[in-house]
Amino acid sequence: MPEIHVRLFAGLHDLVGRRELVLSMPDGATIGQLRDRLGEEYPIVQPLLSTLVCAVDEEYVAPEHVLRDGEDVALIPPISGGS
């Protein structure tokens, strides 16, 4: 079971109440599934999930990306503030 370090960015960490967490995902799980898991554990973030930019080791990846043990995942929501 790959252990994935997940870092949550602006807007998302405020909802979850944590900036980092570790999720154990089944072998072969994709980052899309990890995103869904986050929504199961923290239902408040559910509506944001489809808008998140997912990155692995500082590189954008598509939801189909298959996770590997020890990978660093960043989940980044859009923010709109400017004023």
Partner: protein
Amino acid sequence: MDHGHLHIDRSTGDIDPASRAALRAARQGERRPSKGGRMPVSVYIPTPFRKMTGNRQHVEAEGADVREVLADVDKQFPGFHSLVFGTGDAVPAHINIYVNKQEITSLDGIATKVRDGDEVAVIPAMAGGAGDQPRRRIGALTPEQVDRYSRHIIMPQVGPSGQRKIMESSVLIIGAGGLGSPIAVYLALAGIGRIGIVDFDTVDISNLQRQILHQNDDIGKPKALSAKETINAYNPDVEVTTHQVPITSENALAIIGGYDYVINGADNFAARYLVNDACYFLKKPLIDGSILLFDGQVTVYLPDKGCYRCLYPSPPPPGMVPSCAEAGVLGALCGTVGTIQATEALKLILGVGETLHGRLLLYDALAMEFRQVRIRKDPKCVLCGEPDDPSAKVTELIDYDAFCGGAFGHTNEEEQKAADATSALREQSKV
């Protein structure tokens, strides 16, 4: 084509009539066939309308008067007429039409006769007077300018020619608020030739915790005006154009078309998608930044190399990601993010270094960490790519209120939440 004999007016970029005739002769071969060897009229298409004409600056059309000429342009480029005239038939107030540099209201209006070889120009006038202005030209720097910009000029990456590039460029800043303030101040100090400010709001005391363009005495003043005064107090050489209007699908192309670079300091998703789409259609580099609480994001979108929609194809549901008014923002954070945006704009203008193009910079002020994520153009982007469903392709500005599921700008609900939060704060602080 030999351009050696052209005479171009340095102040306006205009080509003198003799040179124009020579240019025409040189273009003879590529002109579409015309009846009886008639010389068609040349129609100047300003940047905001050029997406209609396959990015061509001049098109040729025939007709006895301006109305017929424009009808012929519409025949060649269907949709041109409605883009310029809207739904009506009269020339809209914000459009000026010129025949050989003379505005047609001083002639016979839309019925003004044209002759073979005339030039018709269709120019959108902006709120505040910025048009599709010819590029400004800076000759030798004055001794005062050499002193003022000496710390730039001595850097090998800038030098006198780099400083002239800065002084010849125009930059549009969306929003004169938290991000727009440091952006405008540093670009003004750098000597940017023309700065446009889009903001329809007035200065409120709650802005003064972070918006360094405005001061106590400015409370109640339109932000765009306050911004202009501050910019010119710092550097009187900078020409400031104020656009005291909400940016909308109706005016975005005309406003943005008048500038070389766009910097986004908008504070809602609808405006962010609108500015992104307009910059894509007009091929303007966009320096994007956004903030919330202790966090910031910055990146650069270059024409045809990816866009905001590649990164965030759809906005979050309304209310999911709070605005600064609802959630708050650290004042100094605006300075960090805004000055990074200003830095990126200056690098683009100078053509030096590596910009944030292709990278999303993430700033976490609480952890005091900068991270970056490599991003890419989405080949299936509905705006700049080829979506699987061709009917999903965005080919013109849309209704961004509907797209983002809420009212444009501050919603009443947001304003109410912010007002509630402020009065709750007042109550708390009494304790």
